[in-house]
Symmetry: C2
Subunit: 325 residues, 2 copies
């Protein structure tokens, strides 16, 4: 099983609680249908780095929140993330997620749609179990944001390289849930609006950075590590930050013009363009921008209590721009 | 537009508020993507009788609940219902719902999955906007129950005529949401646990009756009115109450045995069996049972305040066993 978190020290503070988070993700209130148990077991054991639960637990730890409610919240956040992945993989027809076969390769589309719905339902149940109305509101707003973003992407015109659209899209797709994780963990722990806003800013910053790095790795990673073809977004006509920077410095590049015009399936042209982007300054510029988001995220929380959990949050934020997969 | 509610007097008390419920179902917090507006407009204007919002509004009206929160709750409940229908129709490949083309006939599967998710998200948002933690808990528990029931049905062995399974299934599919509608409307209006339990009992009774009548109409309705082939459940190997009663009185009927054994696609045999069930006492026995559920639902609430809303609730309950579509 993939457990890269074991090698990163900021997880040490919360490793034990993350096990409890996973137990709560698997648990079921009234006894599940055996097939639902199978699905949940598959989804939970397929893992992931659990960075969102770590953000929840470290934020709550720093602010003195109730441990049990934080574990419930962390499970709610991670299940919300899991549910969106289940439907995403179905829609994309993805075969693997983190090197493990996706649900849709083993179950019918019908079962996969319902499995995602079930995980949404359990996630909402755990969010409600925190007993905090504002957390429920964040939960539903975030889900609305994520799904709206996916719908917008589905209907979007391909090939438009627009910085504003890009930020909007990665906020919906990724940063909104990190913002919710840090913000709602703060809500569980304090009524102080400034502290809550500071942690939302932290979550926003690291979430934006996380997605930018994902988009950079899509260009720079090798297929074996990332588990999908290099530049998989660009191959679907989806323009991410490295391509946007490349376009800004090479506005007349014929390969990019051709791709923006729809030539996603010309393999030779695509390879040439990807090589050009990889060897251009666009990768470094994108990484600088990710580091800027991390820095502003850390600054947003800098006046919060100095403690091992705060150090671990900063370390986690820095890890987001150092990771290689 | 189908508006049978206009002809039934128990809607008169709440007709105006139901318009507000529909506005709230269409509303969107941060401005929607135009395609999302199209989807919501399609779903809301496709209508339905709005019996669940009527249960919410009448219950809250009887118990003196805050009107604005009740409208929000009614919109949350009806959107939850709508979301489950969107995914159901996709899974079943249904072409029509209430005589109107389903989403999945006009949008791709991907868009339909996401449209259902979006409606779930908005529904959760409205439930959270009631500001009641116990309502949120009911909301998520009910969603879990509904989806678990659908998953169980997907994996169920066909052809087993089992009364206990049947009750379990129709509770998950239909009664749980009526129970949630009446129960959570009571929660918005009072802290009195006995009153809340009485209204949950009311919702349970009328919900069970509603589904039994649906299952009877599946046998007795004509295709044009119901919008699907007669005995559509039996044709998929799904045994409902009329077939269970028929089996109990005709345990050795060879056609039924053949269908229980899997001969769903033998059209001649199926027509003969359907005709036998229609002309047997099973229809009447099933309707008697539905009337029993309605009676017990009404009794559960009989000690609650006498008022026009209470009368309307009783009338609505009686309507459930008189309706013809």
């Amino acid at each position: 099983m993939e457990r890269s978190r074991l090698s990163t020290s900021f997880f040490a503070l919360v490793a034990e609680h993350i096990q409890q988070v996973e137990e709560r993700m698997r648990a079921h209130p009234n006894g599940n249908h055996p097939d639902i148990d199978l699905i949940l077991e598959h989804l939970v054991s397929s893992g992931g780095k659990r960075v969102r639960p770590a953000v929840v637990l470290l934020t709550g730890g720093m602010l003195g929140g109730d441990q049990d409610r934080l574990i419930t919240l962390a499970a709610a956040i991670e299940l919300l993330h899991t549910a969106t992945l289940v439907h995403d993989d179905l829609i994309d027809g993805a075969l693997l997620r983190r090197g493990i076969p996706t649900l849709n390769t083993q179950w019918s589309s019908a079962a996969t749609v319902l499995a995602g719905d079930y995980v949404f339902a359990r996630s909402a149940g755990l969010a409600a179990a925190t007993g905090a109305v504002n957390v429920m509101q964040v939960f539903s707003t975030t889900l609305t944001t994520i799904v709206s973003g996916e719908i917008a992407q589905l209907f979007a015109n391909r090939g438009l390289a627009n910085r504003e659209d890009y930020y909007h899209r990665i906020h919906a797709k990724t940063a909104s849930l990190f913002e919710a994780a840090a913000g709602s963990a703060a809500m569980i722990s304090t009524d102080d609006e400034d502290i809550i806003a500071a942690m939302q800013g932290f979550g926003y910053g690291i979430g934006m950075a996380f997605q930018i790095v994902d988009d950079v790795l899509d260009f720079t990673g090798d297929q074996a590590t990332v588990g999908k073809p290099v530049a998989s977004d660009l191959r679907q006509g989806l323009i991410t930050l490295p391509a946007i920077y490349y376009q800004e410095s090479h506005p007349d590049n014929p390969d990019l013009q051709a791709v923006l015009g729809g030539a996603y399936h010309d393999e030779e042209l695509m390879r040439r363009l990807i090589a050009s982007i990889r060897s251009s300054g666009a990768i470094q510029q994108s990484m600088d921008e990710a580091r800027g988001f991390v820095r502003r995220g850390i600054q947003s929380a800098e006046n919060l209590p100095a403690c091992p959990e705060h150090d671990a949050l900063d370390e986690l934020a820095e890890y987001f721009v150092k990771r290689e997969a």
